[in-house]
């Protein structure tokens, strides 16, 4: 066999992505979750369920369960690490910064930390939605939380 240079895969599947894919963090649903949300990518069948345990305005614990490609699952794992022990406002801001990097091609802000590893995926339109799934589900969770809060406020 003729030896040829290995093609560049590192810009898509960075080592940190492969690491989170092989050893996902915060995997498993929280039995005492405050908020639960789920979502699917109908085109590729990726699915994700997210549980948050809130302590006031702070995300005290987070757990997820899902199946899908390396991009969607590592993105979920990286997200859970990024939002754990942060306030809901922080989580919302991270979500916006992540979406700006993936969709608008914005340069990653420092706050994104390890999530910056997914920037290479932003150049692959067919895969961007894989990376965004976990964040879409987080958005649903945040909305549900606000809905609950609003309902409680109305009752008062």
């Amino acid at each position: 066999m003729v030896s040829r240079p290995e093609p560049e895969l590192d810009d898509i599947y960075r080592e940190i992505i492969l690491d989170h894919y092989r050893r996902p963090r915060n995997r498993g649903l929280l039995p005492d979750a405050t908020v639960t949300a789920e979502g699917v990518n109908p085109i590729c069948g990726d699915q994700l369920k997210l549980t948050l345990k809130l302590d006031g305005d702070r995300i005290a614990a987070v757990g997820f369960k899902g199946s899908g490609c390396a991009i969607s699952q590592s993105s979920a794992s990286l997200m859970t690490e990024a939002i754990r022990q942060r306030t809901l406002t922080d989580a919302e801001r991270l979500k916006r910064a992540f979406e700006a990097m993936m969709v608008e091609g914005a340069a990653p802000v420092a706050e994104l930390g390890d999530l910056e590893a997914l920037q290479g995926v932003s150049k692959l339109p067919a895969r961007v939605k894989c990376a965004l799934l976990a964040w879409k589900v987080l958005g649903e969770a945040l909305k549900e939380r606000q809905g609950t809060a609003a309902a409680v406020t109305t009752e008062e």
Partner: protein
Amino acid sequence: MLDVAQIRRDFPVLERTVNGRRLVYLDNGATTQKPRQVIEALTRFYSLHNANIHRGIHTLAEEATALYEDVRAKVAAFINAPHASEVVFTRNTTEAINLVAAAWGRKFLRPGDEIVITLMEHHSNIVPWQLVAAATGARLRAIPFLPDGTLDLDAARALIGSGRVRLVAVVHMSNVLGTINPVAELAEMAHAAGAVLLVDGAQSVPHLPVDVQALGADFLAFSAHKMLGPTGVGVLWARRALLEAMDPYQGGGSMIGTVAIEGSTWAEVPQKFEAGTPNIADVVAFGAALDYLRELGMDAVRAHEIALTRYALDALRALPEVRVVGPSEATARGGIIAFSYADLHPHDVSQVLDRYGVAVRAGHHCTQPLHRALNLEVAATTRASFYIYNDRDDVDALVEALQATGRFFGIPAAARAQAGT
């Protein structure tokens, strides 16, 4: 056998590279590449003959009409249809099936009637029937397939023989399993039950000799772009009596006899089903694709694909943790091989293959019920599909790139294969 080296010279796109590698195009089930003969026919039409058809009394209009109608006759000959007037041009296979669902189904189906399909249908041969069932009160039922990927013919006999079936709609060659269904046998079952048979030929007409009279089909739908032709052209063939009994599909110019505000009459078939200006240039270019395939000979195309599929099945089965779906014998299937690879998601597999210049399809291939029935860990597969310009080098490139994919994602068997043998 086909002279693949000679054929490849007719396809300009095969000269390009992808990610610095030779393009290995194995996504022919989705669409095929176009030979220069087809590309030139398209530009020649626009350069020399462009006009609207069936209306103008001038030279260009007459030339354009003759070129367009000439392709209708070529299509009829290609599938051994008794009359060219039984060939209706549509946008694609999907539109051809929707035409039958709307123009035949809505007119003839009654509450309690049954439509029988199979569990291996493409969504385009499922959803139109769901829509027409909802509109008419008919019921949709599906014939399952056996673990070896072939249709369960006992179940087919029972379902089709229920006494309530009016239409049977089956895929000739599965776009995932590669299974070639026994259409002639199903036609006999359908006709014995007083039902008509629609054949989805999207994957079969490009790859096998298809003779509508020998099959006993009543409707056949297929697409030009999966057989060297341009996108935007599909074919519905139907027995003339059926076309005449059906209502129009769309109303507009070209499909009428006379129009008055009080009411209108319809043109003769096939014009009754071709409302508005059709895709003239692409139909004309499709004629060049049919010429190309006829010159190769569909028996030779089929023989080439059986040989290549056999080679590929052996090579893929030799890879640890690759699971090929569908019949095990190359003669029982078309040149379509869908597989799973360990627990890797097909999107990750195809992403890495692309870096090696290998183009395959990944996902559910518009067959969600089929993938659910397969009971895979991930309800999706990676699919390699062949055509006349593919050869063993392409299969070797696929296998080599798959081994690299396994190493990249750390599949133990792939790592062992590299370290040991």
